[in-house]
Symmetry: C2
Subunit: 316 residues, 2 copies
């Protein structure tokens, strides 16, 4: 049982319309040939701020009361959610306060600063992040925008699948990566309502397979302390809300190795000429690993983001 429904996603889509791009759906003859499946890629790497996170951040911020919004918004993140909150806040003319670990790469800090947000640095531990955020919120009165365990955020992320399923009919399977679970939860709510025969598959790196293990055990298993995977967007733990939705709607979680991820990423770059993050290559890697299962089927894959450090690419 959960409280989020298709109608919330539809409301979110209307709410955020002016702040986000309707992203294109790409296909690739050569990847279809290699995989034996007919694949449709929903390209959130072309989304504002470079990832789908803009959708959830925009919906959460636009759902605040005028009074709340005036005090600004805050979050802790070293990745795409930070840039999305900063950009969405800038778009509606309020302040964003971002807590980032002092180990965050320069390119991500520059991204956040370029959207006019204020960065507070902290030690790179979950505890330090949360405490620093608490201080920032206490000082500023800003509203905390959780990266995924928030129905407004999940509904926002679901707007991508809403566009996708309205454009591409009769998918046999829809696939998305799972980290904290915001994207796959929103996708699951929409897919279950609009296209109940479509299988919903979440995909995860073997080096941080806590969602897979959580689903097996029936309770949230935290990720390993020092997760080892190139898919740096998928390291976080599930939340209570996302886990409940995943338990209810997600048919299966497939895991892949880093080698498989890099190979799928290379294939996407070389054949489709689009830049995707390692985390986004996880679903295609899972599809190629289990080719025989997907042969002849119509598969939808959500490409979640394209923010990579061009100085640190895995191609050798």
């Amino acid at each position: 049982m959960n409280e989020l429904m298709l109608s919330h996603v539809k409301e979110a889509a209307e709410r955020i319309e002016s702040l986000v791009h309707k992203t294109p759906v790409f296909t690739s003859e050569s990847i279809n040939e290699i995989s034996g499946a007919e694949i449709f890629f929903k390209c959130e790497n072309f989304q504002k701020s470079g990832s789908f996170k803009m959708r959830g951040a925009a919906n959460a911020i636009l759902s605040l009361s005028k009074k709340e919004r005036e005090k600004g918004v805050a979050t802790h993140s070293s990745g795409n959610h930070a840039q999305a909150v900063a950009r969405a806040a800038q778009s509606v003319g309020t302040n964003a306060y971002i807590v980032m670990p002092n180990t965050a790469p320069g390119v991500k800090k520059r991204g956040v600063l370029s959207y006019g947000a204020r960065i507070t640095m902290c030690q790179p531990t979950q505890k330090a992040r949360e405490e620093t955020l608490k201080e920032v919120v206490a000082e500023t009165g800003a509203a905390f925008i959780h990266p995924y365990d928030d129905y407004r955020v999940i509904a926002g992320q679901g707007t991508s699948a809403l566009e996708f399923l309205n454009e591409v009919k009769d998918l046999d399977v829809i696939m998305a990566p799972v980290g904290g679970g915001g994207m796959i939860s929103g996708t699951a709510i929409v897919t279950n309502a609009l296209s109940p025969h479509t299988k919903i598959i979440a995909c995860e790196p073997e080096g941080a397979d806590d969602a897979y293990r959580s689903l097996q055990k029936g309770k949230i298993v935290p990720p390993p302390e020092n997760p080892k995977t190139i898919a740096d967007g998928l390291l976080t733990s599930l939340g209570d809300k996302t886990f409940a939705i995943i338990q209810q709607y997600v048919d299966e979680i497939l895991t892949v190795s880093d080698e498989e991820i890099i190979e799928a990423m290379r294939l996407t770059w070389e054949r489709m000429k689009i830049i995707i993050e390692p985390s986004c290559a996880v679903p295609l890697a899972a599809l190629l690993k289990h080719k025989e299962r997907f042969e002849g089927k119509r598969i939808g894959i959500i490409i979640t983001g394209g923010n990579v450090d061009l100085k640190k690419l895995p191609f050798t």
Copy 2:
């Protein structure tokens, strides 16, 4: 005076329709902000075979008589034209014979082979290429498809500008790189006919600025013997046909340094999340170099291709 007209390009567009993609036009808010111009990017990097060369190759091959076509087609090229001829030939069910210098990178050879073409290797000199091609043609009876100095090829390349100008109206300027001149010639024919007020600017790397010098001198100046530029798609000399069209219609040639090319390439990868070759970054580099001239204007840029070796990227 030249014999190629808009009507030939329109005929080419109909002829090749089933063999090519209608490529999308992308825009980028952040690159608009950086440049101060409103830029439209026609994305031939998403074209079949990974570059616009598919258009010219397809038109040339489909213009052959049935009897000619049966004997196959041949060309010498180490780059995108080779892949395009191979793929177009495969699409119409005929053989392609490609002469490649033995220095051609493995990734390009694999591309050509993947389309079922036969490769004949030769020494990496213009003379060896031409002589080897002559032998191949003598043995097989295949029709030679010149990479640019052929009206069927130029008309094919022009179909990109035809799509572009039909989709985006009132461009103040249209820009494309110039190597052998096939793309800029086709673009110029179409732009002059459909949108005569649009300025036509060709862009070239400083390290191989033979088109610039040719236009200055009023006669074809060959490129330097060992051209030094990262824009490896723009090293060839103009041909008689392309030079005549360029003299008649191109308003100006702008040149840029390799540093400027790499910076524009990085900007395109980072902000637009699309993979483009160094050669394709030349027009954006020229625009950014002369920002003040293009401020507030509507600029069309043809992104010519996306075939890069991911192991040899210039980002440091």
